[in-house]
Symmetry: C2
Subunit: 611 residues, 2 copies
C-alpha cells in the first residue's frame, strides 16, 4: 500500500477558473491541492476581456483595483464596413451602459490576471500548488459520498507514487478536461462551418484611426475585430478561409494572418515589429449538461462550456463559475452548511452557461453574417449585430445574472404579507421586492456610495461586502433618530443578538467568518445626530485586542464635495427601510421588512448547521 496525502479539495487546472476556486480555498483556509499541467502561469495571449462583474469579484478579494488600474478601458465600439471597396465608419457607440457597475469592460492579458490571483494564493498557507503535474487515475467510492467526513475521491498523479485522497474534486482543466472525460461526460454542440478565426496580439503601426477603440469591421475582404489592450498592444480577430486556417496550422507563421488583415484593412496600412502571440481557432458553441457528479466532483469553466472568444466572456464566466462554487464548498467543509447547498452550483450556473452559449451564437452570427436584414436599412450590414451589442452591455456582462429560488435563494413577491410568516418552519420564505425596488432578489447586490458613520469617508457599499465566506445583513434603518424607526431597528437587532438567536447559533466560536452573519446599518439620519456608542452593539462588534469595528454603520448623507446621499433612492428603498440579506458571493438572497426576522430565520434554517 502506498502512502496517502489527504486534502479537503483537489483542483485540477490553474487557468482562470481553477485559480478562482483556489482563491476561495486560500481565503477560507481550506486544505487544498492545485494540480496544473503547465510549469507556470499563462505568459501571453489567451483571454483578455474583463467584464465589470469580474472586476467586482476580484475586488471583493482585495485586488480588483490594481487589475483595474493596469487594464485598458474600451469605451467605444466602432462599426466599419466597406461598400464598393471603400472602408467607412458606420457608427460609434458606447461599449458599456453607465450606472450598472462602477467598473466597466476592460482588457488585460489572462497571464497578468492569473498572476494577481497567484500572488493572493501564495500569501495563504492552506493551498499547495503542483506545477507540471497531471492526474493519471481517479476513483470515487460511491458508498462513502453520503458520509460528510469521508474522503471518497482517490487519485494519483504522474509526479508521485503517493495516493491522494480528497473530500471534493473540482475539474477546471479546460475544454479538453481530463476530469470531465473520466466522468464519461461530453461537451455537446458543434463547430460552425467556415468559422475559422486567426488571433494576433501585437503593437500595430497603422494609420487606421480607430485602432485604440473596439472595432468590428465587415469588409469585402473579410471580417475583423480590433480590441485595444494594455500598454500599446492590440488584439486582432481575423476571419480566415479554411485554406488559410489549414496553412497556418502547418507553419504557424503570423505573416499568413497579417496578409489577410492587411487586405481587410485597406486602404489603411498595417505593419508591426512586435508580435506577442498568434493562434487560430474554429468557432463552436458546446456545453456539458452535467456540472457535478454525486455532489463531490464539480466541473467549472471551459471544462463545461466553450464558445467563441467574440464576446470576451470565457474567462469571465469561468471565474464566475468557481466563484459561485468556492464559498459553498468552504461552508460545507467548515461544517456550517449542509452539503445540500452544493446542488445549487449546477442549478445556478448551468442556466448561465446556456444563456452564454445562445448569446455567443447570436454574436457570432451578427459578426460573421454578411446578409443584410431586408426589413432594415439595406445598407446596414450590422442590423443583426446591434441588438446583440446592446444586450452585451447590460445583461451579458455578468451583472445581469439572476439566480432562481433554491435552498440558498428566496423567491420574490410583490405582496406585503409574503414574508410575514408567523411560522418559522415555513419552508419557503419569500422576499418583498417592493421594499427595495431597485434590488433584484437573486441578482448581485448593486453598489451605491454611502458615508461611513465613524470617519465620514465615502465607500462603495459593495466594497464592504468582501469575500470571506460571511453572509451580510444590510439593515436599511431609515431615519433612526425618529422614534418609530429607532424602535423598529432596536427590535430587529435585539432579536438578532438574543442569546438564542440566529447570529449566535450560526456564528462560529472559532471566529472564522465562513458561514457567519455580519450586520450592517445604512441609515438616513444626519450622521452628526447619530452617536456611534449608542447604536445597538451588534452593529459595532467589539474585539478585546483591537477594539470596536467601525466599518459596519453608514449614513446615506451628502459628503462634502464628493457626492453621496442617494443610496436609498438608488436602491429603491423607502424611508421605512428594509433588510437585505446578501450571500457570501454578493448575491441578494432575501429582502424583508425590519420585522421579518422569522422569515430570515426560516431561510437560514434550511441549510445552516447550527451549534
Amino acid at each position: 500500500m502506498t502512502a496517502t496525502d489527504y486534502f479537503d479539495v483537489v483542483i485540477v487546472g490553474a487557468g482562470p477558473s481553477g485559480l478562482m476556486a483556489t482563491t476561495w480555498m486560500a481565503r477560507t483556509g481550506i486544505k487544498t491541492l492545485l494540480i496544473e499541467k503547465k510549469s507556470g502561469r499563462t505568459l501571453a495571449g489567451h483571454a483578455d476581456g474583463l467584464e465589470s462583474r469580474t472586476f467586482e469579484i476580484l475586488n471583493s478579494f482585495g485586488f480588483g483595483e490594481s487589475i483595474w488600474m493596469e487594464s485598458n478601458k474600451t469605451i467605444d465600439v466602432c462599426l466599419w464596413s466597406s461598400s464598393g471597396g471603400y472602408l467607412r465608419r458606420d457608427s460609434v457607440s458606447p461599449n458599456h451602459e453607465p450606472g450598472l457597475s462602477r467598473f466597466q469592460e476592460a482588457t488585460l492579458g489572462q497571464g497578468r490576471i492569473e498572476e494577481h490571483l497567484l500572488n493572493f494564493v501564495k500569501q495563504h498557507s492552506s493551498v499547495k500548488i503542483k506545477w507540471e503535474t497531471v492526474p493519471i487515475s481517479l476513483k470515487i467510492s460511491d458508498g462513502k459520498c453520503d458520509d460528510p467526513g469521508s474522503y471518497p475521491i482517490e487519485m494519483r498523479n504522474d509526479c508521485s507514487e503517493r495516493t491522494i485522497r480528497a473530500r471534493y474534486l473540482v475539474g477546471c482543466d479546460g475544454a479538453h478536461s481530463w476530469v470531465r472525460k473520466r466522468l464519461g461526460l461530453f461537451l455537446e454542440g458543434d463547430q460552425t462551418p467556415n468559422g475559422h478565426w486567426g488571433v494576433l496580439d501585437c503593437i500595430p503601426i497603422t494609420d487606421f484611426p480607430d485602432i485604440r477603440k473596439r472595432c468590428i469591421i465587415k469588409s469585402d475582404a473579410g471580417n475583423l475585430m480590433i480590441i485595444p489592450r494594455e500598454k500599446k498592444l492590440v488584439r486582432f480577430y481575423i476571419q480566415v478561409s479554411p485554406l488559410v486556417a489549414a496553412r497556418f496550422k502547418v507553419d504557424y507563421h503570423s505573416s499568413t494572418l497579417i496578409a489577410v488583415l492587411r487586405d481587410i484593412l485597406q486602404p489603411y496600412t498595417f505593419n508591426t515589429l512586435h508580435i506577442e502571440w498568434s493562434t487560430i481557432y474554429t468557432i463552436g458553441q458546446r456545453l456539458c449538461s452535467t456540472f457535478s457528479v454525486m455532489n463531490r466532483i464539480f466541473l467549472a469553466g471551459d471544462a463545461v462550456h466553450t464558445h467563441s472568444p467574440k464576446a470576451g466572456q470565457g474567462m469571465n464566466v469561468s471565474m464566475q463559475d468557481s466563484y459561485n462554487l468556492g464559498w459553498k464548498l468552504s461552508s460545507v467543509l467548515r461544517g456550517v452548511a449542509t452539503s445540500e447547498i452544493l446542488h445549487t452550483y449546477q442549478t445556478e450556473r448551468l442556466p448561465v452557461a446556456e444563456r452564454l452559449i445562445a448569446f455567443d451564437r447570436r454574436m457570432c452570427f451578427g459578426i460573421c453574417s454578411t446578409e443584410k436584414d431586408p426589413s432594415e436599412n439595406a445598407n446596414d450590414r450590422f442590423s443583426n449585430l446591434r441588438p446583440t451589442l446592446s444586450e452585451e452591455n447590460s445583461c451579458a456582462a455578468g451583472i445581469g445574472v439572476v439566480y432562481g429560488p433554491s435552498i440558498l435563494m428566496t423567491s420574490s413577491s410583490d405582496c406585503d404579507s409574503a414574508a410575514n410568516v408567523e411560522d418559522t418552519q415555513s419552508p419557503f420564505p419569500q422576499s418583498k421586492h417592493h421594499l427595495a425596488t431597485c434590488i433584484t432578489v437573486g441578482g448581485r447586490m448593486p453598489s451605491q456610495r454611502v458615508l461611513c458613520q465613524s470617519d465620514s469617508r465615502p465607500w462603495h457599499l459593495q466594497d464592504r461586502l468582501v469575500s470571506t465566506g460571511q453572509w451580510h445583513l444590510i439593515i436599511f434603518g431609515g431615519d433612526i433618530t425618529d422614534g418609530i424607526q429607532k424602535t423598529r431597528l432596536n427590535q430587529l437587532t435585539n432579536s438578532l443578538s438574543h442569546p438564542e438567536s440566529l447570529i449566535n447559533s450560526i456564528n462560529l466560536s472559532d471566529g472564522s467568518p465562513v458561514g457567519s452573519l455580519a450586520a450592517y446599518l445604512v441609515h438616513t439620519a444626519p450622521r452628526e445626530k447619530v452617536e456611534f456608542m449608542e447604536l445597538p452593539a451588534i452593529l459595532r462588534p467589539f474585539d478585546k485586542e483591537i477594539g470596536y469595528d467601525y466599518s459596519r454603520v453608514f449614513a446615506d448623507n451628502a459628503s462634502s464635495g464628493e457626492g453621496c446621499g442617494e443610496a436609498y433612492q438608488g436602491y429603491g428603498v423607502s424611508s421605512r427601510g428594509c433588510m437585505v440579506l446578501v450571500r457570501p458571493d454578493q448575491h441578494v438572497a432575501f429582502i424583508g421588512a425590519l420585522e421579518d426576522t422569522n422569515a430570515l430565520y426560516a431561510f437560514f434554517t434550511r441549510f445552516a448547521v447550527t451549534k
Copy 2:
C-alpha cells in the same frame, strides 16, 4: 593617492526628501550615490500626513494611486473642549476644500511611503544606495565650480577608503544635518517654552466616539490631537508638562504618555494592547536662510526647516523641496539647461519654508493657547484656531504654492499685448493670465478631466503630465473644426515643428525626455468630427518601433456616463483658446495666445541649451 569614484550627484540622507531627490535621479538616469546612516527605511512612527499636492507628485512618477489606496482618508475635523470637567464636541467641519485636487489629505506611515519610493528607485540602475554609511569629510574646490564639466565636490565616508567626487551634493540629512553644519550654516529660531508633546501610535480601545476622525481636544487636563491612520492605527499628540517630558526622556515608557492621555480624554475610556511607536518632542520653528552654496551644494527638507508636526506638513514640504530641485539638476547635468536655473531652487523654496514656519506658529498657537478671543464667543476656545484650519485646507496643502517670476517662470499680466512681443530677444516674456483665468502662472497646473481623442477614455489631464524631465505645452485649440481655430492651430504647430524651431533645437536626439518639449492638444470639437490622422504631426509623434503616440490629443467633450466636458470652463479658457507651458514639475511657466510663439521662444532662450 586613494582610488576615486565619480558621481554626478551625491545625496546624503534617505528620508522623504532624500528619496524624492533620488527618485528624480533614477527617473532621469543620472549617476547618483545615496548615503544613509540607518540600515534601511523607517520602520514605524515619524511623519504620517500626506497632503493632496504630495499625492499628485507621487502620482506623476506612477505610484501615487497605490499610496492613495493604502492610506487613511481624514475627512472631518472635530473640535472638542471641556467646560466644567465635561468634554463636549464643539464642531465638526470638513478637513479639505473640495475641488482643489482630486486627492485630499490622508495618512500613511512614513516608512510605507519610503518603501514605495525605494521600490521605484530600485527599478532604475543609475542610482547606488549605501546604507549604514555617513560622510566624514567634505571639500569643495571653489575654482572648479564655474566649469560645468568639473567635479568640485570631494567627499569621504566611514565605510570605504575611496574618495568620492561629485558634480553636485544634496544634503537631505534632517534637522541635525551634517552637510549643513559642514557648510557653517545654522537653523535659526527657538523652542517655545512649555511646548512639550508626546506622540503615541497605537490601536486604541476606546468609547470616544470620534476616534476615526481628526480631533483637536482642549480639555482642562491638557491638549490632545487625534489623527486616525491606516489599518486600525491612531496617532495621538499629547501635550505634556516639562516634568512628564523629562520623565519620559529617562524611561521611554509609553505608560507615562497614556496616563496623560487618559486624563484628557475623560470621561471616555482609553486602553491599548498594540503600541507601534512613541516619542516626545519640543515645539520649535527654525529655518536656515541659505538653501544652496555655490550653486553646487543644496539643502532640502528638515535640514533647512523644522517646525512642529501639528500641521502634518514636514514630510510634504521636504519632498516638495527636492521635487523642485531634482529636475533642475537633471536638466543641467544632461546639458539641456544652463546651471543658472539652479538659483531658482532657493528663490522658489525659501519663501515656501518661511510661510510654512509662520503657518506652523499660528497653528501651534491656536492649538496650545487656552486663552479665549474676547471679541468672539467667550465659550469658544477655538476662535484662534479656526482661521488657521481653513487656511490649511486651501493654501497650506502645497496646492496653493505659487512660484514668483524668474528665469524659469514668466510674470503674469492682464493686458492682452503683454506677451505679444515681436522681439524674440525680449528678456522678460509675460503671461496673459486672462486667457486662462483659473490657471495661475507659477502655481501647479490644476487638473480637469478630458477625453482622449483616440480611445475616448476619461483622463485627468494632470495624469498625462508625468514627471520625466519633459516640459509640456498644452494647446487649448478650441473648436478645431472651425476654420479660424484650425488655421490658428496649424500656424502654431507649423511654427513649433519647423526644422529650425524650438522643439527641434531643444529636443535631444538621444530621445531622452529631459529638457524636451511635448505638445498636447485639448480641443472642444465633437471628438467624432476630428480625424486623428489629419491632425498636425507634432500632436501624434511617430516611433518606427511602436507607431503613433495616441496620448497627446484630448477632447473637452461629455463622456457616456462619466462626466467630463467641463475642462475649458474649469480652466477659465474661452473658445479662442490659448497655450499653457507646464514645467517638468507641473508648475505653469507661461500662458499665451496661440500666436505667442515668440514669447514662448524668448522664454526658453533664457535657459535652454540648444543644439
